[in-house]
């Protein structure tokens, strides 16, 4: 290693005469935008007429249409089970320890299975505090917790309702969300 810093000079692209006049470049831009405009207008018109057409927009009309979440996206946590149906979690508290938001609360107890030794008596995640960093998934030595449920709609009307219990995280019990009787646009 010589220790010398090599400098690479990046030349700014030189503008030719046509580009400096700007009018032609502006016309080129107008051509692009007009193409999009008329193509999309045509597609929307076809759609409105009930004919088959490519979508004229890439917009997802979210509350009506389901949200499209990438497969790798970190979504709501899920606790996994062994083949015999008991939870994989061995209550090692690694996830609780690494969690930067301190939103995992585990109470451990002795497991009847001698090979497992320890298990969680209760396991709660407060999704109202979680920052969805995924550290808990990384830390877990047992592959007991994952963030691949695909669910992104977790809102609730109170802080207490944002806390998910072990049974709910394992999918044994649906999350009971006491929806207010008032008009809730997403309730349906």
């Amino acid at each position: 290693m010589s220790g010398r810093i090599t400098v690479k000079t990046v030349e700014r692209p030189r503008m030719g005469l046509l580009e400096q006049v700007y009018v032609f470049e502006a016309l080129r831009g107008l051509w692009v935008t007009s193409r999009h405009f008329f193509l999309n207008l045509w597609r929307h018109t076809l759609k409105a007429a009930g004919l088959k057409a490519e979508p004229g927009a890439v917009t997802i009309q979210y509350p009506e249409d389901p949200a499209v979440v990438a497969r790798r996206a970190r979504t709501r946590h899920r606790l996994l089970k062994r083949e015999d149906g008991s939870p994989r979690c061995v209550a090692c508290l690694l996830c609780e320890t690494i969690c930067p938001a301190k939103c995992i609360r585990i109470v451990a107890e002795e497991s009847p299975d001698v090979m497992v030794e320890k298990r969680a008596k209760s396991f709660e995640i407060d999704l109202g505090e979680c920052v969805f960093c995924g550290y808990c998934v990384e830390a877990c030595p047992e592959d007991a917790i994952r963030m691949d449920s695909g669910q992104v709609e977790m809102s609730a009307h109170s802080r207490e309702d944002m806390v998910w219990t072990m049974a709910e995280l394992m999918g044994d019990q649906p999350k009971l969300r006491p929806i207010r009787p008032s008009k809730d646009p997403l309730a349906g």
């Binding site: 502006a26 107008l30 935008t33 999009h36 207008l41 927009a57 917009t59």
Partner: protein, 354 residues
């Protein structure tokens, strides 16, 4: 009824029609702006406002916005000067609206033994009137900037005033060439001049005879009416502009001013460069004269809408200019070019008519 009262009534109808046309178009433009930008960016655009579940392509946003703005608080900064603060948007809007009445919507026609003009304010110096009225609008901007008692508003107002005055100079010298060609300052006369044909088939529109002036005029006009890519005085969200201290309906008035000025600019372009109410081939239909004149109004309106579409498309295509680029373009680009164009035009016209 005496002739005076008929005249007065007819004038009132025309002026109201012109203002209604401009204001209505300005309202629709706020919808067009969103939908057009959405279409060309592969989006859908505002479509949530509904009445009884009907959304009608988001057209109800045109109603929802004014209602929202009307019921908002009208805030005047405590150190600001309320009188001038209130006056500024009104002055801007009034000046822009006044221009609408000077546009030549149609030719005159004979009916019931008298002549009916379709121009709201028939004037010999229509071009000068419109330009003068647009420049008085600068006062609204400077006033808004000053009376808000905010350094940002003040700087925004100064920027706006400097830009508008610079481009006004350019605008006048750009228009000198076509007006010299038409030999008139009267907008309707200019339109009538363009009714002739070149070599028997081409309409003698300003667009074909003065293409450079057309291009320069659109550019200067976009800057004069503070539309993008020259919307630095406003810079709706990024650069703080002169109406940062405005809220509610007074803010809406500034925005409306913008749209009305766009309509005026489109009207001027139509009258001076696109042959106004003329459409080649319309005379072949053999309409009776009053209907023909009214069809001319329709043609004029259609051309205005087309120019507005183009302005909107430009607004969503080009990035905004930097302030020094803006002034450089005005003083070093448009002004010399327009003077050259004027000299060339004068030379050709002199040679032609000698």
């Amino acid at each position: 009824m005496s002739s005076f009262w008929v005249d007065a009534l007819w004038s009132a109808v025309k002026v109201l029609g012109a203002v209604g046309f401009g204001m209505g178009l300005a309202g629709i433009l706020s919808w067009v702006e969103r939908k057009q930008s959405a279409l060309l960016q592969d989006r859908i655009g505002a479509n949530r406002a509904d009445i009884l579940g009907y959304r009608l392509l988001g057209l109800f946003h045109m109603l929802a916005d004014p209602i929202k703005l009307l019921v908002k608080e009208d805030f005047v900064p405590p150190q600001g000067q309320r009188f001038w603060h209130d006056l500024a948007p009104g002055l801007s809007l009034a000046c822009a609206t006044l221009c609408l009445a000077a546009l030549p919507f149609g030719d005159s026609f004979e009916l019931f033994g008298r002549s009916w003009s379709l121009r709201p304010l028939p004037m010999g110096a229509g071009v000068v009137f419109v330009l003068a009225s647009l420049s008085v609008g600068v006062h609204g901007i400077a006033m808004a900037g000053w009376s808000s008692a905010s350094a940002y508003s003040l700087l925004g107002g100064l920027r706006g005033a400097a830009q508008m005055i610079s481009y006004e100079v350019a605008m006048l010298s750009i228009l000198a060439a076509p007006l010299f060609l038409y030999g008139t300052l009267d907008l309707a006369e200019a339109v009538r001049w363009q009714a002739r044909t070149l070599w028997g088939f081409l309409p003698a529109w300003g667009l074909l005879l003065q293409p450079l002036a057309f291009l320069l005029f659109l550019t200067a006009g976009a800057a004069e009416t503070k539309r993008a890519p020259f919307d630095l005085p406003e810079g709706e969200a990024e650069i703080v502009g002169y109406f940062v201290e405005y809220s509610g309906m007074k803010f809406a008035m500034f925005m409306t001013t913008d749209f009305v000025e766009s309509v005026v600019l489109a009207g001027l372009t139509t009258a001076l460069f696109l042959g106004g109410w003329h459409l080649p081939g319309l005379g072949l239909l053999g309409l009776p004269q009053p209907l023909f004149a009214l069809a001319g109004v329709g043609v004029f309106a259609a051309k205005v809408v087309a120019v507005l579409w183009l302005l909107m498309q430009i607004r969503w295509t080009l990035p905004r200019f930097r302030y020094d680029q803006l002034l450089a373009l005005g003083w070093k680009g448009l002004l010399p070019l327009s003077l050259l164009n004027f000299a060339a035009t004068a030379w050709v016209v002199w040679g032609w008519t000698r």
